[in-house]
Amino acid sequence: MGTITFNGKEIPFDEGDNIIEAAKKAGTEIPHYCYHPGLSIVAQCRMCLVEIEGARKLATACSTPCNNGMVVSSESPTVKEAVSGVQEFLLLNHPLDCPICDQAGECSLQEYSLKHAASDCRTDLNRRTYIDIDMGPSIKKNMNRCIHCTRCIRYCNEVGDIYEMVALQRGNNTEIVTVDDKPLMTAYSGGLADVCPVGSLTTKDFRFSKRVWYLRRNDSICDGCSKGCNITVSHEKNLVFRLEPRENQEINKWWMCDEGRYGFHFAQSPSRVLAPAVKGGGSMESAQWSEAGARFNDLVVGAQSIAVVASADITNEEADLLKSSLPKAELYSYSPSVDSSSEDKALDHLIRRKDKSPNLKGLEGRGYSAFSKFNPSKFNLVVYASGGKVRPPYGIAKLSETTVGLGVFLKEEVDGFDVILPGPSWLEKEGSFTNYDEINQHFGQAIRPIGLAKPMSVVLSKYLADSVWQAG
């Protein structure tokens, strides 16, 4: 702890903070490209130049640790001139094709050009031009826009643990490539689009699907595994367009994996069941909520023995609710990759976990037993609750006399069910998950339930007769 004087104001800094971080905490952004708090520091873009009293030359704020009593300016005329010069150099080769660039609206180059550079161009030199190139399953590269910050290379080495991405040649000819055109095979490739400060690296999944200024953002938690990475959901008109990691030093730092990043598509897939359905003459038929709800109630009232089997992706609140509204039921949890959380383990050096469900710990804590203990022949009625991405075990509905599906199902899964009551996926509701480390994380609702899906609380309170609730 100590203080520095920054642009005339005294601001505190924490041990180890560089000037960029200290300024950030005080609410000022020092422009930077190559610096990323999660990557090693190389100080090569020179955008973060600041003036330090007593120093002979301008210093790079990213690589200069704060010292007690340091007097720093990011606004002096010398700094302004230098930074605008750096920016001008970076634009020498830039195509300025913002109108057709996917990064526009969240591009550091665009923002800093506006804030820190002259508005005119003093050269009419030709720009380097390259064609767009596929870099493996997830990333597309547009080399024309690259400013050679090398964040992507460091990201691959330090986060993705791969070494394929390199900068070949030097100076003006520097080109970011994968050696011998190898595809980028890492479970974290989507993050390249996050760390690239310009529109050079974009995810194929999101590119050209939406102008970012139309997107609304909500904080949420990934439901892809027991890690519980913190994320931001970008959506418009009740459609989700992308997930991005949100910093949480305790859990995922700045990162998330590809599986989690692209995993939201199932919730918007055309095969999701979005209206209630009941078993007709053999197959499932769409029904009114009132009809399906009444059928559900009849089954519950008539059943001698009930089991609730819940995918370990329902929220803690839903788990509590099921327990209290079906007091006679035995409770089981289901995760596709592990039977109990004791089998869970880290899948790699970074964040991915073996347990591909977000809330097994939460369900276990609420008295839900392991799926291996579930004996379907013991029960007349199974209520299968699905919260989202975890797919129910194949053929689960055929194992017992009658089965009710509550939550998220795909058309190909409903065979054998007696009633399906569609519910919201995790993006369409609020609640909490408990991660492998027993960290309980609350998340808000990003979009409204899709189709005719209804929250579990509404379904249980509206359609189950009072006598059922009071039975316990």
Partner: protein
């Protein structure tokens, strides 16, 4: 290839203790490999990468940065003509054109007999005696057309 591996191993043995890490040691080892083989094809770079336990892409990145590492075979006699500002003002472009015509190759090319390679290089740090040609490891200073004639003749 055996010789190249030996050269690499010998260099690592000799220089290891002077360099803080493998990344730093890479440069002298690449030089040694190039001296042994003449240039640096994929296989040689792979050998270097394995010997130093570095990822191959890292090695390729470094060799691509330095023009002194040859990614194509070069002739026995490598004519590196400086065309930076001092040499340029003292007529290096004329020297280059003269060599081009004489050998029938352009900068970056090698004669069919594999004897000569012509390369245009940046400052050789000998501006006081511009224009300068570096042939393999030797400097030829203040060169004129007739000097070029003499040099080429001697090498043929």
């Amino acid at each position: 290839m055996k010789q190249v591996q030996n050269a690499i191993d010998a260099e690592i043995d000799k220089k290891k203790r002077f360099y803080p890490n493998k990344e730093a040691l890479l440069l002298p080892v690449l030089h040694a490999a190039q001296r042994a083989y003449g240039w640096l094809p994929h296989d040689v770079m792979e050998m270097v990468a394995k010997s130093l336990e570095l990822p191959l892409p890292k090695v390729k990145q470094v060799t691509s940065f330095y023009t002194m590492f040859y990614k194509k075979p070069v002739g026995e006699c490598h004519l590196q003509v400086c065309n930076n500002i001092a040499c340029y003002l003292r007529g290096s472009s004329d020297v280059i054109h003269y060599i081009e015509n004489k050998l029938g190759i352009l900068p970056g090319e090698t004669t069919k007999d594999g004897l000569f390679t012509l390369t245009e290089v940046e400052c050789l740090g000998s501006c006081g005696t511009a224009p300068v040609i570096q042939i393999n490891d030797d400097y030829f200073e203040s060169v004129s057309r007739s000097d070029v004639d003499k040099i080429l003749e001697a090498k043929q």
